[in-house]
Structure formats: structure tokens, C-alpha cells
């Protein structure tokens, strides 16, 4: 009943890889947007904003991704009758919820890592909170958040394999399907692994490119050091 692994089996795997890329791109972008908002809220002068974001982040970080995926996939249709997101949308919602919390912590850490004197200098010039954030703090924080952010995105690609449980035909699920046809898990999952690797490695290359391009101007080690030391 099995047939050997053939070149044509690469097609469903490539399709799965393409779906994984779409899934991670959409939830990665949304996760970064919501993560930025949450991370800024986490460091905001408003107590309510800090409170809400802290609760969200601690909750999500304390729950396994798989549980979030199950919760969204099975929970949303029950909580909101009539609303039945397709598999791709539920996967995006679950991964976005998860990513936002982790990105928020990276954002918070980066904002706090910007030297305190920068904030004081902006204050002393009469910049209000939002202008200070926009023109002084965030441009510096973004450079700090890129390396851990890239690391997290790579993790997100790998964690996205968990949505296979919902039956979405992403890369891992496609690997399962092909294995069931060919009975050759070794070749199949070697290809699957190579595809994951290619996606992740491309992300880290992009990250390195970005760091090289921006690193010219700001080297955190060469920030104004008190002279005379």
C-alpha cells in the first residue's frame, strides 16, 4: 500500500512550508504590533495600562502554546456562537496571543535598557511622554530589541508546528500526510527539517543584515562614556 518517496512528494511539503511561512509572517507581524503596544503599556506612567499588560503577559507566559492553540480552536466557536474562524485564522489568533506576550517582554526590556539620562535629557528639553518615546527612546530601544526579537521569531516558526493538531496543513502536518502515503518518515522528515531550517536561517540572516546596517551608527558599547575614565 505504500509507494516510495518521490520527487512529486515535495509538492505538498513545499505547500506546507509556504503555509507555515504565511502563518508565521501574519502572526509574527501582528505579534510584534500588539507586543509593542503591550510593552509600551508595561513601561507607561499610567498604572492601569501597566496593570493590564502585566496581567496579560504573566497569564500567557504561564500557559503552554499548545493549550492556547486548543483553547482558541475549540473555545472561540463555543464562546462566540456563530463565529467559526477557519483553521488558519484560529492558528493566527493563537500564535499572535502567544507572540504578543513574549515580544512585549522584549520591548519592555529594551525600553528599560535605554540609558536613564536619555529620558532625562528629553524631559529637560520639554518633550512630553509620547514625543520622548517616539523620538528618543524607541529609536534606541528598537536597535536593542532586534537580536532577541529575531531569536523569538525563529522560536515562533518552530512553535508554529504545534498547530498541526488543529489539522491545518502546515509543514509538519504535510510531513505527516506524506509519511502516511510513502511510509518513509526518514526521508520525509529530513526534508521537513531542512525546510524549517531554511526558513529559520533566512530569518537570522535578515536579522544579521539589519544589525549590520544599523550597527554602524549606534554601538551600545560606544555610547557616550563619561570621559576621563
Amino acid at each position: 500500500m505504500f509507494r516510495p518517496f518521490e520527487w512529486q512528494d515535495l509538492v505538498p511539503l513545499a505547500e506546507g512550508a509556504w503555509l507555515t511561512i504565511q502563518l508565521c509572517a501574519v502572526s509574527g507581524v501582528l505579534g510584534v504590533i500588539f507586543g509593542l503596544i503591550l510593552g509600551i503599556a508595561r513601561t507607561s506612567p499610567s498604572r492601569i495600562a501597566r496593570w493590564i499588560s502585566t496581567i496579560y503577559i504573566s497569564c500567557v507566559r504561564g500557559i503552554p502554546v499548545l493549550v492556547i492553540i486548543f483553547f482558541v480552536f475549540f473555545g472561540i466557536p463555543l464562546l462566540f456562537p456563530g463565529l467559526e474562524p477557519d483553521k488558519f485564522s484560529s492558528a493566527v489568533i493563537a500564535l499572535t496571543c502567544f507572540a504578543a506576550a513574549y515580544v512585549a517582554e522584549i520591548v519592555r526590556g529594551s525600553i528599560e535598557a535605554v540609558e536613564k539620562g536619555q529620558s532625562e535629557a528629553a524631559d529637560a528639553l520639554g518633550l512630553d511622554y509620547w514625543r520622548k518615546l517616539r523620538y528618543v527612546i524607541l529609536p534606541q530601544a528598537v536597535k536593542i530589541m532586534v537580536p532577541p526579537g529575531i531569536g523569538f521569531l525563529i522560536g515562533l516558526v518552530k512553535d508554529s508546528s504545534l498547530v498541526t493538531v488543529t489539522g491545518l496543513l502546515e509543514l509538519t502536518h504535510a510531513g505527516n500526510v506524506v509519511t502516511n502515503l510513502t511510509g518513509d518518515p526518514i526521508k520525509t522528515f529530513l526534508v521537513v527539517a531542512a525546510m524549517y531550517f531554511a526558513i529559520c536561517y533566512s530569518i537570522s540572516l535578515l536579522g544579521r543584515l539589519y544589525e549590520k546596517r544599523t550597527g554602524i551608527h549606534v554601538d551600545p558599547l560606544k555610547l557616550p562614556e563619561p570621559a576621563g575614565l
Partner: protein
Amino acid sequence: MIVVENLNKKFGQNHVLKGVDCHIREREVVCVIGPSGSGKSTFLRCMNGLESITSGSIVINKHRLDDAKTNINLVRQEAGMVFQHFNLFPHLKVIDNVMLAPLKVGKVSKEEARAKAEMLLAKVGLAAKMDTFPGSLSGGQMQRVAIARALAMDPKIMLFDEPTSALDPEIVGEVLTVMKDLANEGMTMVVVTHEMGFAREVADRVIFMDQGLIVEEGTPEQIFSTPQHARTQGFLSKVL
């Protein structure tokens, strides 16, 4: 121009300023000296709201800092500040450091802000460094850019928080020269400093602080040549 009355500042249990009274007139140059931990930097930082006031009052140019309704950002536009560690924005070119506040707060046109910034950088002798990033400047150059940046909002008062303490001794002079020019132009200045030579030469009045209080104040001549208080004498005998 600046009226400080019974200013108290506590950091938790630590009582840093214990009832400071001080009046500073327009065009006056006041140097604040004293040992580390005497509260002189905190005193200065209270004047533009970088530190909140525990009790007492500060009035800067008719703005009451202790009144919650006062828009602190308006006060800060009138009182420029220069820091010990410069705090230039490393992601912005020198000229953009100087232009930022006028452009984003002052609502002037880009051309106007740029012309102003070029003029100020020329004034501090750094017109040639306009398009470089702060990271490539020496400490003295950075501090001069910081002075130009603070001047860009046309402040009526300039606050200096140990502006030369982080500099190599041989480049202290270039910063002091810029400050001297500023004083000669009639800027109201409050300078926390360890540069006794500068205080003696430029200040209209010298304030000696110790343990959160103004111990003694007077003309440089009075403070440096005939200090009345034992603590002033003790401090000066160590630093002069």
C-alpha cells in the same frame, strides 16, 4: 526670576534638602559648590522638575513648580539643562540633536530650526561637526553640543549640573569658555560645579551647600577669600 522657598526633598527616609531658600535674579550667574552628597545636584534638578518636590515652593519665571496645574514642559522650555554625562541622543546627528526640541516641541519650520541649530553650533565652535554622530566626538565637543541643544529652545535660564566633571582636565577649558561667553551675554545661570576657578571668575554669587542646607552665600570674593562659616572654610581648604 527663580524663587525657592523652604524647599524640602526626601528620597524615602533620606532627607536630602532640608529647607533651602534662594532667590536668583535675572541675568545673575550663581555657582553652587559643596561636597558630594550635599544636595546641590538635587537642588538643581528640582528647578526643572526632574525631581519632585517633597515640600516648599519653587517659582521659575512666574511658573509655580509645586502646583500640579503647572505644565512642567513649558517650564522646561524656559530652563535649559546641561548634564554631567552630556546625554546626547546617540541615534541622531549632531545637528538633529540640536533641532529636535524646536522642531517637535517648538513648532518652528524645518528651515528655521536648522538655521538656528547651525548658528548655535557655530557659536560653540562645532559648525564643522554638524553632520557627524555624537559617538565620534570628544567629551568636550559633546558637552558643547549639549549646551547648543539646551539653548535651542531659547531658554531664559540655564541649569548646569557639574558640566565639566566627566571631562579630561585639558578639555575642561573649552566648555568653560562657552559658558563664560553665555554668562557675558546676560544669561541667567545656575551652575553646580567643582571648578572653583570658574566660580571665582564668572559667578556673581557663590552658594556653599552642605548636608542639604545652604551654609553660606556671597560674592566669590567673600566666599573664597573670607569664608565665615567653619564648614565652608574646611571645604575650601581641601579643594583650593
